[in-house]
């Protein structure tokens, strides 16, 4: 077997141009396959990481996003008296009434606006989001027209550095801080004081209530209590669950797109490999004849060529994957259809995607190599030797 391996490697090295072209084709396919998967995964991860498992979010029944949800003040009071809500060591009730509005801001590149989330925050909002860190400045004072800006938004949109003023809702808002929440949705938000915000927009209701459970196992009983209360008309979800749902449409679209592209591309790459391998077989009929005359079995020849094609595709797959992994340093931002607001996220390479990509390249190698290898193994010894 080792003899065959070196024989194959040398062959690949001798016919360098064909090898490089074929492997490059495979590399492109694997690159496209993994990058689209990484995009879908990154979007999902960003949104799932946004939520905390022990946080519950309360919304109006049937609403799919915070923006369209309405929770009246009285109902909010009923919710906040639930005994299952946790309390911080400092004695603060870990429950936040929040208000979410979308506003149009202009991106630094180009003059087209995009929708950005403005979240009116309560006293406990920051405590409930462990991922959010203030990287410079301070939080807005209660009752003031001050805002903190998420780092992803600050990078992309005009006029959001500390000290700059933003005008919306007939008021001027001063940027007093920049917050970073890693790769989560909060990096794409702007936070302001809830009471000022609600008054600015003349909206006398909350969008949602978020609270921490005192006991994690209380989830189902609390959910039942809230959803079964006919006064409320509200629903309760784990925050992680809520954010995962918001990634669904987009992630599914990207996955379908990625998979169908991968199928089409792989047909091209398999054919490319096939052409190369057929040519290899045709050029080496004499070699094959000699090998058979020396006593190698048909099976050995078949395996030999198959291995060659697999090596080719593996090289392509690994190269494609390496290039795809470089995408992880890239941050992209797009409008999430479900929330109708801007969301920045990174490409995310998971072990699953890497394994899938390698398996995919193996599959292409085997499929592209099997027919030519079969032909090679069926060559008649005498005729092959006579060709010389």
């Amino acid at each position: 077997m080792s003899l065959f391996f070196t024989y194959n490697m040398r062959n690949l090295l001798t016919r360098r141009l064909a090898t490089v072209i074929t492997a490059a084709g495979m590399a492109f396919v694997v690159f496209v396959f993994s990058s689209v998967q990484m995009m879908a995964e990154g979007l999902k991860k960003t949104l799932v990481d946004t939520g905390s498992f022990n946080n519950l979010i309360i919304l109006r029944k049937g609403s799919q996003a915070e923006v369209v949800s309405v929770v009246d003040r009285q109902k909010a009071l009923i919710i906040e008296t639930l005994p299952e809500i946790g309390i911080s060591p400092e004695g603060i009730l870990l429950s936040a009434k929040e208000h979410v509005v979308l506003i149009n801001l202009y991106k630094k590149d180009g003059d087209k606006p995009s929708n950005v989330v403005i979240r009116g925050i309560d006293r406990a909002s920051l405590l409930l989001r462990e991922r959010v860190r203030l990287i410079s400045g301070r939080m807005p004072l209660p009752g003031s027209t001050e805002i903190v800006v998420g780092s992803a938004i600050q990078k992309r949109f005009k006029g959001l550095s500390i000290g700059e003023k933003l005008r919306f809702g007939l008021r001027e808002w001063t940027v007093v801080g920049i917050m970073d929440a890693g790769n989560t949705g909060f990096s794409s938000e702007i936070w302001a004081d809830i009471d000022t915000l609600m008054q600015t927009f003349r909206r006398p209701f909350y969008s949602c209530i978020v609270f921490r459970l005192r006991n994690p196992q209380d989830f189902s009983s609390v959910k039942e209590k809230i959803e079964g209360d006919p006064r409320l008309g509200l629903m309760a979800k784990r925050e992680v669950e809520f954010y995962r749902e918001q990634s669904e449409v987009m992630a599914r679209f990207l996955k379908i797109l990625g998979n169908s592209l991968a199928i089409v591309f792989s047909i091209g790459a398999i054919i490319g490999a096939m052409i190369t391998m057929y040519a290899q077989v045709a050029n080496r009929i004499q070699d094959i004849g000699t090998l058979r005359a020396l006593g190698f079995q048909k099976r050995d020849i078949l395996m030999g060529f198959l291995i060659e094609s697999i090596i080719l595709s593996l090289v392509g797959g690994v190269v494609g994957l390496i290039f795809a992994s470089l995408l992880q340093f890239l941050e992209v931002s797009t409008l999430n259809w479900q929330t109708f607001s801007e969301l920045a996220f990174r490409f995310n390479l998971t072990l699953g995607i890497s394994l899938k990509a390698i398996a995919f390249s193996l599959f292409m190698g085997i499929l592209g190599g099997i027919l030519p290898a079969l032909r090679a193994s069926r060559i008649n010894i005498v005729e092959a030797l006579r060709m010389g």
């Binding site: 064909a18 690159f31 799919q64 506003i103 087209k112 006398p204 089409v264 797009t334």
Partner: protein, 385 residues
Amino acid sequence: MLILKLLFRNIFRQRLRTFLTVLATTVAILAFGFLRTIIDAWYSGVEASSPARLITRNAISLTTPLPISYKDRIRKVKGVKEVSYGQWFGGIYISEKNFFPNFAVEAETFLQLYPEYIIKPEEKIAFLRDRKGCVAGRKVAEEFGWEVGDTIILKGTVFPGEWEFTVRAIYRGAGPKVDETQVFFHWDYINEGLKKTYPTRADHVGFFVVGINDPRRAAEISLEIDSLFKNSLAETLTETEKAFQLGFVAMTEAILITIKIVSIVLIIIILLIVANTMAMNVRDRLSEYATMKALGFNWPYISGLVLGESIMISLTGSLCGIVLTFPASKIFVDAMGTLLPVFYITAETLLLDLLIALCVGVLAGLLPALNAIGVPVQRALQRIG
């Protein structure tokens, strides 16, 4: 003519190789055409927009409503012909998977402003008379098997509750670019419901559609409308329908760019495959080219032979791809249903397919042609032995 004969003979010499290359090109061109059409679909709203329509919405964002009282003030602006208004309803039909856009609109003026939605006169009257009536696009009606007279129920996401509608009319688009997957119903019906459940949200609309007499004055009229509401509680932003739709496209630009990059990668892959085939062909025939050179054929002739073959292969593949695009897109459209409002292959896409095939053919043949020209006669002939 000899060159053509030689060309054809050469193409059919390595039948399997040629066939595989043509197949790969076919698949790639098919996919390229698809991606282009998907990008076109993204822009379909922009394409279908009329220069004689302006959209006025809340300057804060599209999700913030405007008071209905603005209608009459906009109507008074000089140059405004008609004003209609509407609201994204976002209702769900049975399950979230059955997505289609649905709007509550002021029906009479709305249909006047959108003459591209063609409705039978008697159905139109029936729709206008029935406050619970709705008008559905041809595609969405076909998808769910609705007929005039059927009752449908939409679950509100923006406006809570279950809302019952009667299909009173089915509209067709005036051209292939018109979206036939939308459903429109009466804003009054929704508003009456809101007055009972959420009185503070009633009497507000999502957007105004402003029909103007002279498209050339669009910018002026937009500014005038916006200045009416400057420094009010709900400031407006008025733009042409085209700019409004382009705004939507720009918001999902990242995905659009991805698709564009992918389609370029696709072209590179075809290029690699054809180049590979040609490189191998030339390599096999080096001694022949040496012989031809020895016989006195000049370099344009020999390179023409190689380039001609490569162009022929890529063009054949591209033509097959173009022919297959039509049945394939039919299957695709049927499978996607209302998710894809407009899927329409343009002549531009087809021309682009051909142009790409031509470029690929030339580029792929270039290096091999150079090889063929540069072959040292003596050494190549020696190899024949």
